[in-house]
């Protein structure tokens, strides 16, 4: 009995490993190995892939990027998008979700589908549409505003550096708000209506129950969506390649770290080591920001509960 039991366990153990073997190898080769290689590359220099040598001192690439004004511009832009866009989007997504969760509201399904629809577009397709909607001379937006007499001269949405950044923010917000709204909606639908009823009887108005009940309850989702959006925004690439009149333009006004890494590796004379050092800075920023977001929204009870259900 004892022997057969352990034999079965050994066999089921091996079968189990058999199932996960190929996926685990793939993740190892295509995620973990490249991550270590990125770090190794960030200590190397040379043009092209055959001439890579270790730099002396080892932090040579990192010292170089501190002096690199394009790197700082890209980093600033990433943070500009992040700080302005993510909060706006999360507040909007949460507002839409709360409104759409009202049981006495008509056309809920219609509103939900329409607001979610931008999330099905490919990044390149929607970026193309926004590029021409916001075009200075030919864009429909300026055309409509001129016709309505809201403006007297066309606005340089994509030619003015600050406006170009704002146009990018408008575009990303359009694309991702409905997507994030779905997370809040599905979480709200699991909330017991009785809590609100009890709060109402206790004399709480709807604003109070929103901040005292809804927001605390949505905390894990707020954390999740803000971490996902932060990771996404710091890697922004397709939009800045397509929406501005020139990739990352005008000048470097809208460029991002991801685009700079792409340019250094694949557009200009390739300096893979330097590109890798920038990508490692990006990794460090993402890990640090995620850790901060976890820390800010930490809540011991919540943590204990979520451990059980993920």
């Amino acid at each position: 009995m004892g022997k057969a039991f352990s034999f079965n366990r050994l066999k089921s153990g091996l079968v189990g490993w058999g199932f996960i073997l190929i996926p685990v190898i793939l993740v190892g080769v295509f995620i973990f190995y490249p991550m270590f290689r990125a770090f190794q590359l960030s200590l190397q220099t040379g043009i092209g892939r055959r001439n890579l040598v270790y730099i002396d001192p080892w932090y040579g690439n990192y010292a170089r990027l501190i002096q690199d004004s394009t790197f700082w511009t890209a980093l600033q832009n990433n943070f500009f998008y992040l700080i302005i866009q993510v909060p706006i989007m999360i507040v909007l997504a949460m507002t839409f979700a709360v409104l759409l969760n009202k049981k006495d509201l008509r056309f809920r399904g219609f509103f939900r589908t329409c607001i979610f629809l931008p999330a099905i577009t490919s990044l390149m397709a929607y970026s193309t549409v926004f590029r021409y909607m916001f075009d200075t001379t030919n864009g429909i937006l300026n055309n409509i505003m001129l016709d309505l007499g809201l403006i007297s001269t066309p606005i340089g949405w994509l030619t003015d550096p600050s406006l170009a950044r704002i146009t990018i923010i408008i575009a990303i917000t359009w694309r991702w708000t409905g997507y994030n709204m779905i997370f809040y909606l599905s979480s709200l639908q699991n909330v017991d209506e009785g809590i609100y009823e009890a709060a109402r009887i206790d004399g709480a108005n709807s604003v109070q129950s929103f901040f005292k009940i809804t927001v605390p309850m949505l905390k894990p989702i707020i954390l999740f969506t803000s971490v996902m959006s932060t990771i996404g925004t710091l890697q922004l690439f397709d939009e800045v390649m397509q929406i501005p009149s020139t990739p990352g333009g005008p000048g470097n006004a809208t460029t991002t770290l991801a685009q700079y890494i792409f340019n250094i590796s694949f557009l200009w004379q390739p300096d893979f080591g330097y590109a890798a050092s920038i990508s490692f800075v990006m990794l460090a920023i993402i890990l640090a920001l995620s850790a901060i977001q976890f820390w800010v929204t930490r809540d011991r009870d919540r943590l204990k509960k979520s451990q059980g259900r993920h």
């Binding site: 996960i20 993740v27 006495d104 509103f111 990044l123 021409y132 690439f237």
Partner: protein, 282 residues
């Protein structure tokens, strides 16, 4: 059923949601309307649909390699989706059904990798692909301008492994045990019991994988450098380069590249949303 009345207290909600709906829908409307207009009409600010739809299609067929790119994107997305959901579900199933402490440690390590931005991996992955293709014999289609190089790095998606493991938690182990006693092999349990019963999960995961592949731009543009291999996002990106742009044509191409996902969305709306938020109930 009694019709719900529009309540006065909700008037603010209706106004707000209507504005949001108009803002969400207008770019779609403008894209589709412009696809039926000439470039000149689009520039002049025409908002209504026009009569240039067939002309734009003719221009597209004559002057762009859109159809080739459409075929490339479709082929790539279908193959990548099938392989990705198969490989990821193998792991999700394996981790949950054959649970053990050691496997859980491996699983936690995999989860950590979800925090790694894909952009960090781009440069080393590119070097890996070209260096490996240098030493491979020419007969093996791997390296720049190959579908395999575009697909392979994304094939084991940690998110989808996690997704499948979560769904497997709701899978009845009694069914497996009963079939096992009946003499079904371990692999047979997966193919004959798990896959058919979990078809909703596969649908949702398939949508995630398909959208990922269909929309991908950065990695494909690095790997696929010849026109014959280009995918839709690459063609859309190239179509806006240059001084003279045919607005109607570009909007037509954007529209056509959104249609497949749109169809999937309207046909499989329930799975679509479930897939997006990574949860499957029942």
């Amino acid at each position: 059923m009694r019709r719900k009345k529009i309540k006065i207290s909700n008037i603010f909600a209706y106004i707000f949601l209507s504005i949001a709906t108009i803002v969400s829908i207008f770019p779609f409307y403008w894209m589709i309307a412009s696809a039926t207009n000439s470039s000149r009409d689009v520039i002049a600010g025409r908002l209504l649909p026009g009569t240039y739809f067939l002309t734009n299609i003719q221009t597209m067929l004559d002057q762009t390699n859109f159809m080739r790119a459409f075929w490339n994107s479709t082929r790539l997305a279908v193959i990548a989706t099938v392989l990705t959901i198969f490989v990821s579900s193998l792991a999700g199933y394996g981790f949950e059904v054959y649970k053990s402490r050691k496997k859980d440690i491996v699983f936690s390590i995999l989860l950590i990798s979800m925090m790694i931005p894909a952009t960090t991996l781009i440069v080393p992955l590119f070097l890996l692909i070209v260096n490996v293709s240098d030493v491979l014999p020419n007969a093996i289609p791997f390296g720049l301008n190959t579908m395999a190089a575009v697909m392979l790095p994304g094939m084991a998606s940690v998110f989808l492994i996690f997704f499948f493991r979560q769904s497997t938690k709701m899978f009845s182990m009694e069914i497996l045990e009963a079939a096992r006693i009946d003499g079904t092999s371990e692999l047979g349990l997966f193919f004959k019991m798990f896959i058919p019963i979990m078809k909703n999960t596969y649908a949702a995961a398939g949508i995630i994988a398909f959208m990922g592949s269909w929309n991908a731009f950065m990695w494909p543009t690095i790997i696929l450098r010849i026109g014959d291999m280009h995918t839709l996002p690459i063609v859309l990106n190239l179509s806006t380069q240059g001084y003279w742009v045919d607005f109607g044509l570009v909007m037509l191409m954007s529209f056509l590249s959104v249609i497949p996902i749109g169809i999937v969305f309207f046909v499989l709306q329930k799975h679509f949303v479930a897939g997006m938020i990574g949860t499957i109930k029942g």
